[in-house]
């Protein structure tokens, strides 16, 4: 007979009084390995320790007191790209990616690191300070990059890595968009205004469903909405041109666009580095900020901001005075492509000639379930052919700052992506996430493809098509 000598003791975990993952979040993982097939870090490293079920096991052993939170343990949690592919495939409902993020928070509670306090507590909540703080970045100074690397405790920065970090940066605008974009922009009164909705969107399968139950975009109110525009940090500082385009497209399609200037970072970088408590404070600030504006929806053109804003309800569920307000806020949040697909949209009369391929940002396709909408927008543009790449929804290896913190892992994942991008022979690679865009740009530049393929936000292409109407 089989005999059990496995002791399963229900000890109190060693992190009493800390916020830790609960037993039901990991206990039911049966290690089937379905997640192995879809995990970018596992498929790149071929190492069980860097797989979702491996991380779940590590977390379980740590919470049961069998493993300590060693630097290596914490690094394994940091290695997760948080691409959510494991969350999506698990038939049991385990969320390994969420667990890894939660364990980063546990590590920070046990031993908070000072530089994170400075970065996430002292810098990100203050847009003006951040604009000054990233001035070196905007000036493309190598020194700035080195300093950033030092701040992030990268002791060994290789010349190749430094070159790739520089490659990441787009043509940085001279001034942040925050200081240029008007606080309120009235809807356009151009000739397109009163035409009936384009048939493209009448057929959009998700539109009717969403329009019906949306908190504020109920039927009959689709035109003339008051849109709160959440201007994310990266968009403001690095991709100002794109967010300008997003605002133009919204206005062009009958929206009043309100861009509050005192928003803080959405909070994702803080979560990523294990500082959920800082993120919650940012969330409260942003919720209060938009409550004052009385907007119908809150739109962002950053996939990561969008997925984080939609989670405010979840993260503040435990705070009675905020739970309901956070939920109401999150219910109103839309990615720009998601929102544009919900409203009647003018078909651009201008053309763009060429081929485009679309890369699904993790925070959009899995974080928000938005995959069809950006493709629909691209499909509206005459002259532009959409060519699907293989594994379009596979992580690009950016995950915010992995190119800085886990350079080789990040590159290995990127190479797989760029193989598929290159195979399409597209002129444009569209992706509505600043992190993905920077990462894809590095990948293209490493192969000398940056002149042949341009990385863009899908809405930027839509804007260009509108602009081309004049020609």
């Amino acid at each position: 007979m089989m005999k059990s000598e496995q002791k399963v003791t229900m000890v109190d975990h060693p992190f009493v009084d800390l916020e830790t993952p609960t037993e039901e979040q990991y206990l039911f993982c049966i290690r089937c390995g379905l997640c192995l097939a879809t995990c970018p870090t596992y498929r790149a490293s071929l190492k069980e320790t860097e797989s979702p079920r491996g991380r779940v096991m590590l977390i379980r052993k740590a919470l049961e007191g069998e493993l300590e939170l060693t630097p290596n343990f914490n690094d394994q949690m940091q290695k997760c790209m948080a691409c959510l592919a494991c969350n999506a495939i698990c038939p049991v409902g385990i969320k390994p990616a969420d667990l890894a993020l939660n364990m980063r928070y546990v590590a920070e509670q046990v031993e908070p690191s000072g530089w994170k306090e400075k970065l996430f507590g002292g810098l990100l909540p203050h847009p003006r300070r951040m604009e000054w703080g990233t001035l070196p970045l905007r000036l493309y100074q190598k020194l700035g990059l080195r300093r950033l690397a030092n701040t992030l405790r990268i002791t060994r920065v290789l010349p190749a890595q430094l070159r790739d970090l520089e490659r990441q940066l787009p043509q940085v605008p001279g001034r942040p968009l925050r200081s240029r974009l008007p606080e309120v922009i009235a809807p356009s009164t151009s000739s397109g205004r009163l035409r009936s909705p384009s048939t493209n969107f009448a057929q959009h399968p998700e539109r009717s469903e969403r329009a019906g139950r949306g908190p504020s975009t109920g039927s009959g109110r689709l035109r003339g909405l008051r849109v709160g525009f959440f201007l994310g940090c990266a968009q403001n500082l690095l991709f100002a041109e794109e967010s300008e385009a997003s605002a133009r497209v919204l206005v062009r399609n009958g929206c009043e666009v309100v861009t509050p200037k005192d928003v803080q970072c959405c909070g994702m970088p803080a979560i990523g580095y294990g500082r959920q408590e800082i993120m919650r404070e940012m969330a409260k600030h942003n919720i209060a900020c938009f409550e004052r504006l009385n907007v119908d929806v809150i739109v962002t053109d950053c996939a990561t901001c969008g997925s984080t804003l939609k989670e405010y309800g979840h993260y503040l569920a435990g705070e009675p005075e905020w739970a309901e307000r956070a939920r109401a806020f999150s219910d109103r949040v839309r990615d720009v492509s998601e929102f544009l697909a919900e409203i009647p949209l003018d078909k651009p009369r201008g053309r763009i000639e060429g081929k485009v391929t679309y890369h699904d940002p993790c925070h959009l396709v899995r974080g928000q379930g938005v995959a069809a909408q950006p493709r629909l927008l691209l499909g509206m543009i005459d002259g532009l052919e959409l060519v699907e790449m293989e594994e379009a929804d596979w992580c690009c290896g950016s995950a915010g700052s992995q190119l800085i913190t886990h350079y080789e892992d990040s590159l290995a994942i990127l190479e797989r992506k760029i193989d598929h991008v290159q195979a399409t022979g597209a002129d444009y690679v569209a992706s509505g996430c600043p992190g993905c865009q920077m990462q894809l740009t590095v990948g293209l530049k490493r192969r000398g493809l940056e002149k042949r393929m341009q990385v863009v936000h899908p809405v930027l292409l839509l804007d260009r098509a509108y602009q081309n109407e004049r020609h």
Binding site: M2, C32, G33, K47, K61, V92
Partner: protein
Amino acid sequence: MINTGIVKELERIVGTKNVFTSPEDLVSYSFDGTFAEHRPDVVAQPATTEHVSRILALADREGIPVVPRGMATGLAAASIPFGGGLALSLIRMNRVLEIDEENMTARVEAGVVTADLQAEVEKRGLFYPPDPSSVRHSTLGGNVACNAGGPRCLKYGITGDYVLGLTVVLADGRVVETGGKAIKNVTGYNMTQLFIGSEGTLGVITEILVKLIGKPRHVRTALATFDKLDDASRTVNAILLKGIVPATLELMDETAIACIEEAMHLDLPLDKEAILIIECDGNDEGTVLREIDRVADICRENGAAGADGVRVAKNEAERAKLWQARRSVSPSLARKAPNKLGEDISVPRSQIPAAVRRIKEISRQYDLPIVVFGHAGDGNLHPNVLFDMRDADQWARVQEVVSEIFALAVELGGTLSGEHGVGVLKRAYLESALGADSIEIQERIKRALDPKGILCPGKIFPQAEVVAI
């Protein structure tokens, strides 16, 4: 047993980056697709047959236990290093070395993911049929070592039917080649088949030569729902008796349906006791369509009643979704309990209705949920016992249930395992299925090939030393 000198030697063979000793790594290599666990002392990830050969020569010299593993998703605890020692991960050996279209063969390294090989050969109109449910998260090496099956076995046969030759590293580090591209080969013992299903106890398989066939050009998949589980299991034979051999004939009971519906939202019926997924394929579209229609009729005649009794997938996306669901059934059961023990009995297919009925009786008798699904068409069933290991009383009953299920399989003329293997979980019952003489011969083969007993100690044989689970 593993001192720093040995770790250094391993590092010299495979490089420092491919030897792991941190507690985090050892925990990560301590488990497979079962509930069992044991940490190795060290992990090495070789990249070539030569690496493996040098590692085994070292292990032979030092008497270190070696347990090979691919993606470690097996369901018999065969890849868990119960005796400690070296976990030998072959996952870096992941090259498809050759696809020979003229001879219709492929040579691959052991760490190639099975689905990756399938995708590669299908681009050329070829087909590698064996499709264990873990097809996307298991390797050819593991499939061969455990002689994996899968739904398509009904028509196309199991992994072992497609292996023409192997490269195997023996316990002392010698490398042997078996078989080859010649289809007919009776020169000497069939050494290829000896290593197939040996679960890593006789040697480490590093390269595999497989036979391919032409990819069937047309396929149709039907979903039939039954009010009574008994009707569904009777239908299996009703179809086969009409001379129709579908590619697959899969059964799921109501708990399996409920779990998968909760996980995937496919609009499966929650008020029915069973469903069958039946797939017909072939090169002539007319024939395939006629077959699936005939299958649908037989299902209706046998109790798949109502307007929605039989549904045929309208397109490839619908079909893919259905199969993703089928492959997720086993893990999705964990929604109902923290632990599950997936058994794998195989009976003559005429006994399927009896087996299903009796398993449900055992479930009632011991008051433990047993979910039944599996490859009903070839008689291979997966009764999954759901339990909570922390409850000592439940765990005791689980073991009695397992005994009963195995006894039932043997009584019905079947056997303990159709496709998962013995590993550690079925060791104790081996004699009931094989008899003492057969076990004694097999032990002699084991000793002949692995005299020091360093390969997967404690696996398969009931008398083997070791190791409590």
